[in-house]
Symmetry: C2
Subunit: 129 residues, 2 copies
């Protein structure tokens, strides 16, 4: 049995609050993160939250990445979901550093199989500087 | 402590394989699912997988919905991630029925808080017809 996709759900806390509200920079960072995984970018949609924050998705041939930021809490929620020969962990390493997160949590999930079995949550890890 | 978002990760198995490869229908269904949650649609990006399948994201003011389909396995992976006063479960109810899923699994996760605490996986449920 081989999983069809790997999905990282990452919570970043203690981030640079000005950066979390910088629409252009957040879009740039998520696109760079997507490229780092080895995925092929199809499209990128970003949108400002009201009254602050940024929401955005990068659609890749291998699934998607998303980010939703709450500058008021120094918090960003990121998803890195890839199938095929990609390395979603590299996106996390990059974003954690770039966003200046002081702590956070990564939930790694294997999704889908060729044998109709439940998805497997195979790792949950906290990090802190 | 109040979670900032609620994220459903859903695996649909035994789906209608023709439908899973119908680009226009899948886009329509995910947009309808987004509306059913009460969210406000910002943008919709859909893309055909090679050699088959569909990948797509609907960005909403309240976060996003995504779908990735594998017609060859009758499988679709769906994410419904909303913040604010939305009802992500309604998207699941709708898609489960529309895709003709014979079984599946829903993982419900509370994401982000105002108090820098780990996210909580608060429910995991299998379903079958």
């Amino acid at each position: 049995m081989k999983a069809l996709g790997k999905h990282l759900l990452v919570e970043y806390y203690g981030c640079d609050r000005v950066l979390l509200n910088d629409f252009a920079q957040i879009e740039l960072l998520l696109n760079r993160a997507a490229s780092l995984t080895g995925a092929t970018i199809v499209a990128s949609i970003f949108h400002p939250y009201a009254p602050q924050g940024v929401t955005g998705v990068v659609v890749v041939e291998e699934s998607h990445l998303s980010i939703h930021t709450w500058p008021e809490y120094g918090y960003a929620a990121v998803d890195v979901y890839t199938c095929g020969n990609c390395f979603p962990e590299l996106a996390n390493d990059f974003l954690r550093e770039q966003l200046g997160a002081t702590s956070g949590e990564v939930l790694s999930i294997l999704r889908g199989s060729t044998e109709n079995v439940p998805m497997k949550v195979y790792n949950r890890a906290a990090f802190a500087r």
